[in-house]
């Protein structure tokens, strides 16, 4: 299905492009939010990514999976904006978005909020593989391709990320 849709986008069919956007924008935005920790930067990253997809679709090789290509552009864009905005203080949307977690019960709410905060506190090189794996469900080989890293480096960063998150969540549970 994607092949036909992508072919239509190659022909600059705007309806097809909207269909493609609606299909992939949701998770792209979530990923950008989790990486940048800012609603404004995430919004910019998603917009730039889809504009680039539209104009550079000819560079995507038909038959290859589309999502790793899309996410490579997205992650590069997030990193570029983070680098560019490093001297600017943005409102930390991790604390804003924590309020969006439904209060099904207070204990449940706090646990997820703290874990989300802990993910945001991970250093960028560890946070990005964690987000790609646990938010989007990419395989380690796909993450390696997106980030242009050796798969063993990805495994090591995921391992370190999990250890840090476990430590954070255990500490928070003990503190209750």
């Amino acid at each position: 299905m994607d092949d036909i849709l992508l072919q239509r986008v190659r022909n600059k069919d705007k309806e097809a492009f909207e269909e493609l956007y609606n299909k992939y924008a949701g998770f792209a935005a979530r990923t950008a939010l989790a990486i940048t920790r800012s609603n404004a930067l995430a919004s910019d990253a998603v917009q730039e990514t889809f504009v680039r997809v539209y104009f550079n679709i000819d560079k995507f090789k038909p038959g290859n999976p589309f999502e790793p290509w899309l996410y490579r552009i997205l992650v590069n864009e997030c990193m570029r904006l983070l680098k560019r905005g490093s001297r600017i203080t943005y409102v930390d949307s991790y604390s804003e978005s924590g309020l969006e977690i439904p209060h099904e019960d207070d204990h449940y709410f706090e646990e997820y909020e703290e874990l989300y905060q802990a993910i945001g506190d991970l250093e960028e090189k560890i946070r990005i593989p964690i987000v790609l794996k646990y938010l989007k469900g990419f395989r380690e080989t796909e993450i390696a391709e997106i980030l242009k890293l050796n798969v063993n480096t990805v495994k090591s960063r995921l391992y370190k990320g999990r250890q840090k998150l476990k430590k954070a969540i255990t500490g928070s549970l003990k503190g209750r």
Binding site: T31, E100, Y116, I130
Partner: protein, 250 residues
């Protein structure tokens, strides 16, 4: 807690933490994307019209020289002797800058890596390091962003391969990187244009011209200046490139 339970928690935390904000930005983002696409399409259409009006093809001098010197690997004395026959050490070149025509006294630069170019010696000088020749302002102005035009050669990679690599690099630094296109003006090359921002006078601009060196490699011309200087330095660099000629090495 098992590893599976923990990993499930991480996934749920990420889903719950990003769900609402992502949903809220979806429609607004789509409108902005459409607007950006339409604006870029308009700009490209206008730029294509400009290129059509300026097409001059490959420099006739370059074609003659390639035929005359044949195929070589390094520029040597024989090639340099022939250069002297074809190129005067100085000449007056007509430049069109900011809408006005100017007759600029230009000097011949014979690059060790196998090219010649006439440059505006009133405003610029060339700094050589054997691998990269950099044309810089003769008198630098304090506080102004970087302005230069660099000429180098990559003997291993084709213009197409380099275009892909350079585009990816530029995407990491510039907010807008236009798709690489083939141009014939000011010379036959693959052209990449990138700008960061686009609203402030000091927003940086980088242009690459990737020229087939006819031996499987590429002459790389990089121009760097800033938005406000596009009509000045940008235009002068563009005019000077019309005088660029590859000297096949022996």
């Amino acid at each position: 807690m098992t590893s599976q339970q923990f990993e499930k928690m991480v996934t749920e935390a990420l889903h719950k933490g990003t769900h609402k904000a992502a949903e809220e930005m979806q429609e607004k983002n789509w409108k902005c994307i459409l607007k950006k696409i339409e604006e870029t399409e308009k700009e490209r259409k206008a730029a294509k019209g400009l290129f059509r009006n300026r097409i001059v093809g490959i420099s006739a001098a370059a074609a003659v020289l390639v035929l005359a010197l044949g195929s070589f690997t390094q520029p040597g004395q024989a090639a340099l002797d022939k250069i002297r026959k074809y190129f005067a050490p100085e000449k007056i070149v007509e430049f069109e800058v900011e809408g006005d025509k100017e007759n600029i006294h230009s000097r011949l630069q014979q690059g060790e890596i196998g090219y010649v170019i006439y440059y505006d010696e009133e405003r610029y000088k060339i700094v050589e390091d054997g691998k990269v020749d950099r044309l810089v302002m003769k008198e630098s102005v304090e506080g102004l962003p970087e302005v230069y035009m660099e000429i180098s050669q990559d003997t291993d990679n084709s213009p197409e391969d380099l275009a892909e690599k350079l585009e990816a690099e530029l995407r990491g630094e510039f907010s807008r990187v236009d798709e690489a296109i083939e141009v014939t003006d000011p010379l036959k090359a693959i052209y990449i244009h990138a700008i960061d921002g686009g609203t402030r006078g000091d927003d940086p601009i980088v242009n690459y011209y990737l020229i087939d060196n006819t031996q499987g490699g590429t002459f790389i011309i990089k121009q760097k200046y800033f938005l406000e200087a596009a009509e000045g330095h940008g235009s002068r660099f563009y005019q000077m490139l019309k005088e660029f000629t590859i000297i096949p090495a022996e």
